[in-house]
């Protein structure tokens, strides 16, 4: 079996700037954690703050692009893709093609790198 571990935290605890002691500290801890679990880790990455998020929403067959993270409580996280795209428009174009059985939302977040 493979599992996805989805990390939920209050992003406010890291402050506004990426370059800060809290970030450095947690980064070191993640490095230690990766060492510790060894081959059990297949892949993973941090995500940029939710203020950088864009959501492509599908409702009744119509798609629309919105600022901000996914905010519906009636839909649950069902999977994820990590993609390579030249910019947000290219990412949106791919997000529009993600299969959905009916309605749904695809949240787009830059991966920290």
């Amino acid at each position: 079996m493979q599992y996805a571990l989805l990390i939920y935290e209050d992003e406010q605890v890291y402050g506004d700037e990426r370059d800060n002691p809290a970030m450095t500290e947690i980064f070191a801890q993640h490095m230690a954690f990766i060492d510790e679990i060894g081959a059990a880790r297949i892949s993973g990455s941090g995500l940029a703050v939710t203020s950088s998020a864009t959501t492509v929403r599908t409702r009744g067959g119509a798609q629309s692009v919105h600022d901000g993270p996914f905010g519906e409580t009636k839909e649950q996280l069902g999977g994820f893709y990590v993609i390579e795209a030249s910019d947000l428009d290219a990412a949106i174009a791919i997000a529009r093609r993600v299969p959905l059985l009916k309605d749904g939302s695809i949240e787009i977040r830059p991966v920290l790198g």
Binding site: A48, S51, S52, H66, D67, G68, D87, L88, D89
Partner: protein
């Protein structure tokens, strides 16, 4: 930058006139709105020190002040990027060379590329918060100050500044491209731009008095829609929007009566309208009409055109045409605003009872805090002599705190109920 129209030295003049183009060119070149704004501000500060503020005209002012500002800003932007890289402990680029004599002598006419269209698409990207798009466009393209935009949007300067900071950060962090969208996304993205400008103009139009900060802001909307129409001469909806804004602005002088109350369109004296703006609107609408597609903005412009064709109050009001145009608009935009406007025309053509039936079919609960809903209802009930209901509807609009000119008019109508 000072917002006043009077104290225009050479720097203020060029910043107002060419600032948007310079900032857009910088933003497109460095793909960073903050760098564009900050480097332009630095160039203006340099100009303020180097150029004379008064005295002999043109003495010491460069032959092409816009090109001077662009070059100075460009150097400042490179310095900023270099400092940023040094901070991030990356190897800095070598310093940029000082401009050569050839640079200074070069024909400046084509020096500053016109990247405003790209920048408009960035500012109106659907990934930018809807409430920030219009403000960001006015800031970046028109160079309006945060204070000016805050006044027009009726929010505090701090709130507006925060919105702008968040929007710019979003654009940078999410990787919004500084590109004109491709054919796949074109229709949707263009619509986002046009809707943003419509919202921005609605803010300018709300104030019937137009004597306050809105007057200058409306002038910026004339400029902005002109720029867009010039950049997109094959987009009928962009042309129609330019027409729309001109028709609406043409009527500004007639929007208030002697007592300062709002004058409804049908009661405005057409001889007070601005004929030059009407002619400019007609020219844009004719251009748009060549494409033979009646989009929502073209239909709205056509409604304005029908009204502006009236030469005096003795001419009959164009209600039957207006109703037909609203019928067409309704097929494209079935929203409460269109349905309410259509009901107003229907009342004139088919009677108040028919119009009220249409209004009562709307979701009153959802429209409870929407002033035009109560205002239209109140007027129809008044005409049908359903006095108590009309009074309650007028009270509902007044409770929503309309602008003074509208309040005065509503109060007058409400007082007339007993006559």
């Amino acid at each position: 930058m000072s917002p006043g129209p009077l104290d225009q030295g050479p720097l203020e003049r060029v910043a107002r006139q060419d600032g948007g183009r310079i900032i857009a060119a910088l933003a497109a070149r460095y793909r960073d709105l903050d760098i564009a704004e900050e480097s332009f501000a630095e160039a203006c500060a340099k100009a303020a020190a180097a150029w004379p503020t008064d005295g002999a005209p043109d003495q010491g002012v460069p032959r092409d002040p816009a090109a001077w500002l662009y070059r100075a800003a460009d150097r400042a932007a490179l310095d900023m990027l270099r400092r940023r890289r040094t901070r991030q402990r990356l190897a800095p680029d070598p310093p940029s060379p000082e401009p050569t004599i050839e640079d200074a002598m070069a024909d400046n006419a084509n020096l500053i590329p016109d990247e405003r269209l790209r920048l408009i698409f960035v500012c109106c990207h659907p990934a930018v918060a809807a409430e920030a798009r219009a403000a960001l466009t006015l800031r970046m393209i028109c160079g309006l100050s945060t204070a000016e935009i805050a006044r027009a949007f009726l929010v505090s300067e701090t709130t507006l500044a925060q919105r702008l900071v968040r929007a710019k950060r979003k654009i940078a962090e999410a990787g919004v491209p500084f590109e004109i969208p491709g054919p796949d996304a074109w229709a949707e993205r263009l619509d986002a731009v046009l809707s943003t400008l419509e919202i921005a103009y609605a803010k300018a139009h709300e104030d019937a008095a137009g004597a306050g900060p809105h007057a200058g802001y409306a002038a910026e909307m004339l400029k902005l829609t002109e720029v867009l129409a010039r950049l997109l001469p094959n987009e009928p909806e962009a042309l129609a929007l330019a027409a729309l804004v001109r028709y609406a602005e043409a009527r500004r002088p007639a929007r208030l009566d002697e007592q300062g109350a709002m004058a409804p369109l049908s009661e405005q004296d057409p001889t007070a309208w601005n004929p030059a703006l009407i002619a400019a609107g007609e020219a844009y609408l004719r251009q748009a009409a060549r494409f033979r597609v009646a989009g929502p903005r073209a239909l709205q412009a056509a409604i304005h055109s029908a009204w502006c064709a009236r030469r005096s109050l003795a001419d009959p009001a164009p209600w039957p045409i207006v109703l037909r145009l609203y019928d067409a608009l309704l097929t494209l935009r079935n929203d409460p605003v269109v349905r309410l406007n259509r009901a107003v025309a229907l009342a004139e053509v088919a009677g108040a009872a028919a119009a009220l039936a249409e209004v009562e079919a709307l979701d009153g609960q959802a429209l409870n805090s929407f002033a035009p809903y109560h205002a239209v209802r109140a007027d129809l009930l008044r005409r049908l002599r359903r006095i108590d209901e009309a009074r309650a509807a007028y009270a509902a609009v007044l409770a929503l705190g309309p602008p003074p000119a509208e309040r005065l008019w509503l109060e007058r109508r409400m007082a007339g109920l007993n006559a």
